[in-house]
C-alpha cells in the first residue's frame, strides 16, 4: 500500500518488459468498465441534483455537474462521463466534451463559490472533442477560461483523476488545491498515440511515448503534478466500483477537512503559487535538474504552520537528476 501510494506499484523487482507494463497500465486506465463520475457518485453520495446547460448554447452530457451531499456535506461535483454501453456512449459523445461542457462547469463552479461549497472534480477523458463543431464554438477558449477560473475560485477544489487525464481537455477540470489520482489512472500532455505519431512519426511507438512521458499516476506523483495515488481494490477499479468509491470518498473528505481549515485567502494564494511554481528551468550554464518531490502532506502541513511557505515541486533546484526508468 505504501509502495502504491508512492507510485511504486508496477511489480516487485524488475518487470520483464517495462514498456509492456506501462502499456497495460494505460489500457487499465481506459477500461470502459471503470466507474465514471455518475457511478462513483451513486456509490458515494447520499443525494445528487444534477444541473444542466451552459446558459449559452446547449447541455453537454459528456460533462456532468451538480450538487451532491456526501457524508452529510454539501459538495459541488463535476466530472467527465463516458457511457457504459453503446447507446449511452453515443448520447454522451463517447465522453468527449464540447465547449458547452466546460461552460456549464464554470457556471456551476461559480455557484459553489457563491454558496460556500467545495468542489470535487472527477477527471477521465481522452481529450476534448476534436471535431469542427467543438473547435469553432471555442473549445480552446472554454478550456482556457475554465482553467483560469479554477486558479482563482474562492472555495476548496479537490481533483481526482479516475482514468485518463488527457491533455487540455482533462486540464479544464483538473486545477485544484489537491490533485489525487486512482492507482491505474494516467495523466499526460498528449495521448501516447498522438505523441508517438508526432515525435516517432509512427503510432506503433505509443508504448514508448507512454513510457517517455511518464504517464502513470505513480510517476505523476514523483513529478509532483499529482499529490497522491488512491489505491484501487482487487484487480482494478472496474472490479469493485463500490469499494473504489468508498476509498475515493474517504481520501477526498480527509483532504477537504484539511483544506477547510485554511482561510480562503491562504487557500487561493497557495493554489496560485502551486501552479505558478510548476516546471523546472535553470539559468544558463548551470546544470539543469528536475525538481525534488514534495508530498502534499508536507505542503499542507507547511500551509497550516504559517508563516513559512513550503517549497513547491517544480521550482528551481540544483539537486541531482531524478530520472528513473519504469
Amino acid at each position: 500500500m505504501v509502495d502504491r501510494l508512492l507510485g511504486r506499484s508496477h511489480g516487485d523487482g524488475q518487470p520483464e518488459n517495462p514498456n509492456a507494463a506501462v502499456w497495460a497500465h494505460v489500457q487499465q486506465a481506459r477500461n470502459l468498465k471503470r466507474p465514471h463520475t455518475l457511478e462513483l457518485l451513486k456509490a458515494m453520495a447520499d443525494e445528487f441534483v444534477e444541473l444542466h446547460g451552459d446558459r449559452l448554447f446547449g447541455d453537454d452530457s459528456a460533462i456532468v455537474a451538480g450538487l451532491a451531499r456526501i457524508s452529510g456535506r454539501r459538495i459541488v461535483v463535476i466530472g467527465f462521463q463516458k457511457g457504459q454501453d453503446t447507446e449511452e456512449n453515443i448520447r454522451r459523445n463517447f465522453g468527449l466534451p464540447h465547449p458547452e461542457g466546460y461552460r456549464k462547469a464554470m457556471r456551476v463552479m461559480e455557484l459553489a463559490e457563491r454558496y460556500g461549497m467545495p468542489i470535487l472534480t472527477f477527471v477521465d477523458v481522452q481529450g476534448a472533442f476534436p471535431g469542427a463543431a467543438a473547435e469553432e464554438r471555442g473549445i480552446a477558449e472554454a478550456i482556457a477560461r475554465s482553467v483560469g477560473l479554477m486558479t482563482r475560485l474562492r472555495t476548496p477544489i479537490v481533483v481526482v483523476i479516475t482514468g485518463e487525464g488527457g491533455s487540455g481537455g482533462a486540464l479544464g477540470l483538473a486545477v485544484g488545491d489537491v490533485v489525487l489520482a486512482l492507482e491505474n489512472s494516467i495523466y499526460s500532455v498528449i495521448s501516447p498515440e498522438g505523441c508517438a505519431s508526432i515525435l516517432w512519426r509512427s503510432s506503433d511507438q505509443s508504448q514508448a511515448a507512454a513510457v517517455a512521458m511518464k504517464v502513470t499516476a505513480g510517476e505523476q506523483v514523483e513529478l509532483g503534478v499529482v499529490d497522491a495515488v488512491i489505491p484501487e481494490p482487487g484487480e482494478g477499479a472496474h472490479t469493485d466500483p463500490a469499494e473504489t468509491a468508498r476509498l475515493v470518498r474517504d481520501v477526498v473528505l480527509e483532504r477537504l477537512d484539511v483544506l477547510g481549515r485554511l482561510s480562503l485567502d491562504d487557500l487561493v494564494e497557495a493554489r496560485f503559487k502551486r501552479y505558478r511554481a510548476y516546471g523546472p528551468y535553470t539559468v544558463a550554464e548551470r546544470p539543469a535538474a528536475p525538481p525534488e518531490r514534495v508530498g502534499i502532506t508536507d505542503r499542507l502541513r507547511g500551509l497550516l504552520t504559517k508563516p513559512t511557505m513550503p517549497p513547491f515541486p517544480g521550482t528551481r533546484r540544483t539537486g541531482p537528476s531524478g530520472r528513473e526508468e519504469v
Binding site: Q126, G127, A128, F129, P130, E135, R137, G138, I139, A140, E141, I143, A144, R145, V147, G148, M150, T151, R152, R154, S167, G168, G169, L171, S188, V189, I190, E193, G194, C195, I198, L199, W200, R201, A208, M213, K214, L223, D265, V268, E269, F272, Y275, R276, Y278, G279, P280, Y281, T282, V283, A284, E285, A288, P290, P291, K306, P307, M309, G314, R323
Partner: protein
Amino acid sequence: MPVRLPFRPRRDAYPPDLWTKCPGCAEMLFNKQLDKSLRVCPHCGHHFRIPAKTRIEQLVDSGSFIERDSDLSPVDALGFVDLKAYPDRLMAAQLSTGLRDAAVWGIGNIGGRPVSMCVMDFGFIGGSMGSVVGEKVARAGEAAIADRIPLIIISSSGGARMQEGTYSLMQLVKTMGVVERVKAARVPFISVMTDPTTGGVFASFAVVGDVNLAEPNALIRFAGDRVSSGTISEELPAGYARAEFWFSHGFVDRIVARAHLRDEIIALLGFLIAPPLNGSAETPQAPVSRPRSFLSALTGALTGENVAESHNGETGASRGEAPRG
C-alpha cells in the same frame, strides 16, 4: 540581467538564402526585398513566420526593448528520449536560433508607451511551450502588473511541449493564473495570434486577451491531441481554422496585416490604460483574491520576500484598499 550566450546561431531557423519561394503564390522573392516588406509577400500578402527578435524590432520604438531573463534555460526533467534525446533537440534549437528557448520577453516602448512584451519563436521546436516559455509568459504578466503597463503576448506555437510532459500542461495553468491576476489588476492585455497558434497556447493565454488580434491567414487551432509542430497545416480545408475563420466565429477582434500591426497596437494602447492604483482605486472587477492578498502577493513577488510572510503584517501596498473618497 541578460547573459551572453556561449554560442552564436549556426543555422538560422529562417533560412537566409538569397531567394525564397512564396508558399502563397509560388513567386520567387528576393530576401532583402522580403525583409523590407516585413516578410510579407508583396504579391499575395502571405505572412511568413518571423523570429521573435525580428518581431520585436518591427513593433517597438527603436532601441527601447530591454530583454529580461534571456538566460532562462530548459531542463530535461523527464529524461525524455524519442528519436532523439530532448537535450540534443534543445541544443540543436539553441544553435539554430540563438535563443535558449521558444520565447523572448522584456520591457519596451511602443509609440512611446511602455509595455511588457513576450514573443514566441516558432523556430525553436515549433514554438512549443515548456516550462521556460510558461515562465517567461508569467514573468511578463507579473511585470505588467508590477509596473501597471500593458501586457502584449505574440503567439506563434505548435502548443505544449511534449518532451516536458505534464509540466508543459501545467504551463497552461501557470500562465492563466497570471493572466487572471493581470485582469483583476485592471492591467490591459493584448494578445496577438500569428501563424500558427495552436494547442495549449491557443487554449490558454492567447485566446483571452482584452483584445485579440491575429495576422491574416494565421492558422489558429486547438484540435485536441492532434496539434503539434510540423504536422499541423496539411489536411485542413482552405480557410478552416484560419484567422478569418476565428474572426467570423467571434474569437478574434481584428485581423491586422503585419504592416499595420504596430500602428494598431499604438491605437489600442491609447485606449487600454491601466487606471492608477491610488487612494481612489476601484476594486478589481474580476472576482479574484481580495485586493489585500493580491497586493501582498505582488509585493512579495517584487521584493523577492517570502509571500507567506507578507500575510503577517500590513504592507504599504494594502493602502490601495482605502475607500474612495
